[in-house]
């Protein structure tokens, strides 16, 4: 499938008001890899709920770092 980048973005703004009362999944050519970890490093602004979080690539909560031998 051809990818028309002028109408099909892997990282789109929200649809305009009034266009959400129907399903719109699909219909967009796959852009595998266009969005991903690299793109996710782009900074974003968000309102923190429970203290400041690093949102450049959202730091997850609830994990425990450790080191494995080998």
């Amino acid at each position: 499938m051809n990818v028309n980048e002028s109408t099909c973005s892997s990282d789109q703004k929200l649809p305009a008001s009034g266009r959400l009362r129907r399903r719109f999944l699909g219909g967009c050519a796959s852009l595998l890899g266009a969005w991903g970890l690299a793109a996710a490093t782009v900074g974003r602004q968000s309102a923190p709920a429970a203290g400041p979080r690093e949102r450049a690539l959202c730091a997850a909560d609830f994990y425990r770092p450790h080191h494995l031998a080998g």
Partner: protein, 325 residues
Amino acid sequence: MSTVTCELCPHACVIPEGAAGDCRVRVNLGGRLRATTYGRPSAIHVDPMEKKPLYHFHPGSSVFSLATAGCNLHCLNCQNWQLSQRGGEEMEEVYRADPAELVAAAQREGCRSLAYTYSDPIVWYEYVEDTAALAHAQGLTNVFVTAAYINRAPLRRLCRVLDATNADLKAFDDGFYRRVNGATLKPVLDALVTFREEGVWTELTNLVIPTLNDDLAMIRRMARWIVAELGADTPLHLSRFHPEYRMRNLPPTPTETLRTARSAAREAGLNYVYIGNVMGDEGNSTYCPRDGTLLIGRSGFVITHNALTAQGRCPTCDEPIPGVW
């Protein structure tokens, strides 16, 4: 090599650097776990509340519903597998929306609630939490549609910003959870109790799959557990299975099976047992458990009749009907 252990859900994934957990979206980058779908929903719709399904929470209202990719379960019959069984980089459509944009969009659409739904919002926990907090600040309510496979500590924290949940209780059998869902039963039961303890309005969905979890004895045991641990007024939705994803070999659930299961659950003590995914069935509607008056008539997701008083009581006998009206 910095490995991390994710402590969000009972899988407790041990994630090497550069890899994702079982959910595909929580990734170890440089020894820090990252929520890679934060701010990047792949599905956004305005739905009726009845679609969640929530029947005792703002009936007839519109709910701004969203999801990102990823899930911590792998149900063989998943209805949204194109979304849930993929990582963010595999999605065809990804929107960019920070929490404030979502809340503003919900208000523009005339919604009084947001629903975190479609995939399992557990795996986009931080996005849910931030958005829900902002929604509360704007006077909106938050609905969490989930399979409830989450550890207690993160769930307790999240409950501070949740108002209602529809949680799956997929079967009352650990073996079923292991075979069909890639999960286990006990943490789900613990999470359901936590929702109730934290004051989140809770409705349950049990998808009845022919031959796999339609055993009446099991449904009775499940209903008795709900009565004992969550209360007899907990709404239970018995939903019809449709062949989907990797479970296309089984037929849709016969309506009669659902009706029999509904009778069994009511006999076990539940006051509000519904039949879902069967348009126009009498089990779509809410009846007064005291005198049988039809309170809210539904056909599918549409409310056809609403006789509840403004105070949420039966107009005939004044019985209070539990819910958020």
